[in-house]
Symmetry: C2
Subunit: 202 residues, 2 copies
DNA sequence: AACTATACGGAGGGCTCCTCCGGTTATGCA
DNA sequence: TGCATAACCGGAGGAGCCCTCCGTATAGTT
């Protein structure tokens, strides 16, 4: 009782997960992503397991709680946005790259919203995930905006934070599943503002 | 099939609800109010029925859906705030009246938050309830603020909309059930800002 | 090929949702 | 006051979801 047992996490650090386990895990995240955006974060977890051709037990082993699953999906999407910010400029002009990235941002809105709702009750656990996420998003948006601004394609007096905030707002405001088109329109609106807006004045 | 039956709502307009029915309805709303704030909007409806000493069937007859119940509670609370805005100035000085009213506002935050979550999916039904609610709240806050300002107890350059927004923000930010004290502290903070803030400058 | 740590699947208990209908009560009328 | 009946009550019950537990199957190792 006096000496707490040493956590046995040292030996093999973290064993690399068996092949089938990894496969199932990936499939679950993939299926969950579309399920969350299509059906909302309230989908029955059994439905997700069913769609992934996996037993419910498997789902619960990988993600002991619904939050764990949502969190995993969220992480994946942040990663996706990060790599998109790196790769889009390779195949598109600076402003197109930015526009496409912004659209990608709102596409994961449903998950983000769901998370916010879920986190009303956990609030202080995993909170640094959000700090990290914000930093990543700011960097991503920043690099794209710098490129586009240097090319003279957008105005230079806007901060990444402004864009992120605007996109976040669109995500929050665009709630009904059928409002995807409206979200895209809003993104383009913001983008055009970025592009043609007057340089000075509020 | 061609001629739709006339909706028989005309004769007695809307019969005034039998005595016991009215009683149960009131009790349900009352119990639901505390249950929502104490246990969250996810409480089992059967729990609410139990606490109200009422069969589950009765609950469902009065409120066919969870939203209906939440909505009813919300309405009741808006009404309460409205009458409070009328009556508090009769027994308190202008600024005390305002402060008390502001505290009352955040107390129904839990329900409001729950509503927002629920309404993510209904969004356009009952939407004018919110418009009305906002108008009522603005009026209520406005009348109190005018009084307090005329008495020289608070600065006059603040709009009711600002206060409502601030209070709403406190509601949203104060989520965990144990954070009630912190919410009150925040309200007082806002109030003091209202009271002693410098008149000009951002 | 044999062995074992890992992972899989799904049955099952518990809980909540919501409906449905036989029994009960309040209210209007004689 | 007493009766008829419309209005209301209550809770049993089917269905779905959550989550756990454990016997079975499989990947990786020697």
């Amino acid at each position: 009782m006096t000496i707490p047992a040493v956590t046995p996490t040292s030996p093999a650090a973290v064993r690399p997960l068996r092949a089938d386990a990894q496969r199932n895990r990936d499939k679950l995240i993939e299926v969950a992503t579309t399920a969350f955006t299509d059906l909302g974060v309230d989908v029955a977890l059994e439905e997700i397991a069913r769609r992934a051709d996996v037993g419910i037990g498997t789902l619960y082993r990988h993600f002991p709680t619904r939050e764990a699953l949502v969190l995993a999906v969220y992480r994946k999407q942040i990663e996706g946005l990060e790599t998109a910010a790196r790769e889009l400029p390779l195949t598109h002009g600076p402003s197109d790259a930015l526009r496409l990235w912004m659209r990608g941002f709102v596409e994961y809105g449903a998950v983000k919203r769901g998370l916010v709702v879920l986190l009303k009750s956990m609030m202080d656990t995993e909170t640094n995930l959000f700090v990290d996420a914000r930093a990543i998003l700011l960097d991503s948006a920043g690099s794209l905006m710098t490129k586009a601004a240097e090319a003279g394609e957008i105005r230079p007096d806007f901060q990444p934070g402004d864009v992120i905030r605007a996109l976040g707002g669109i995500c929050m405001a665009t709630d009904r599943p059928d409002a995807g088109a409206s979200a895209i329109a809003l993104v383009d609106l913001v983008f055009d503002g970025l592009r043609y807006g007057a340089p000075a004045r509020s």
